[in-house]
């Protein structure tokens, strides 16, 4: 017998993707519908577990489902140039860098807020003050 079969619960345990999420991935076409047992239960093979792990890892890295779809398609045709995969990862890197920059600005502003807070009344609270008056603020755009 070549490969063992797994229930959806096994697949969830092995991949770290929750059971309803696996069904959801099937619904949106990220995971092919597996064969069913006599009783109508989904029966996954090794390849499905790998695919799920791939998806999960990519999701953790913040790739969108559409990007993952592309990456999975690429993965299936290994003779192709990997320029597309590279481009997707690069795009994502740029996005992450942008987010880090914007969150750093954010952190600075929040630090200014809580450091400036005199713990007195709301009337002279720096937190509220900065929020109310954009002019007092160094922050300009969040992405």
């Amino acid at each position: 017998m070549p490969d063992a079969q797994f229930t959806i619960g096994d697949a969830a345990n092995a991949s770290g993707v929750k059971v309803p999420t696996i069904r959801y991935y099937e619904e949106i076409g990220l995971l092919p519908p597996p064969p069913r047992t006599e009783g109508g239960r989904r029966s996954y093979g090794r390849a499905d577990l790998d695919r799920l792990s791939f998806i999960r890892h990519a999701r953790e890295l913040g790739f969108e489902v559409d990007a993952i779809r592309t990456l999975l398609a690429l993965q299936e045709t290994p003779d192709q140039s990997c320029a597309a995969a590279d481009a997707i990862a690069r795009e994502r890197l740029i996005e992450v860098e942008r987010r880090i920059a914007s969150l750093s600005a954010l952190r600075a502003e929040l630090e200014r807020m809580v450091e400036g807070c005199s713990h007195g009344h709301v009337g002279e609270c720096r937190v509220i003050d900065i929020l109310a008056d954009h002019g007092k603020c160094a922050h300009h755009r969040m992405v």
Copy 2:
């Protein structure tokens, strides 16, 4: 005449919050329903514009609508202690710091991916490779 009146479009221009979003904020109770003109149009005053700017700024800083609700309530009673506002900002700061840390790990991993990419075939593509095999990856958890 004490204060001028503004259309929803004016309010959108002045605050940077889009027209449908202003109506949405009214619907969820972030912004009080303004009086209407004879023709049934919303008519905003200065205080509404300020409130909208406050909301927008807080949203840009990543505060959730519920947190903003609390902050707005605090703002309206300036004699109170500002400890609550301080706590909300501090929580948000911690969250932002966590996100920065996790995105930095992410960036490192994406850099490793694109640097390792030999621009050859998908078969030996580092991007796909790392995604497929979590073991090859330094990353552990995203928040």
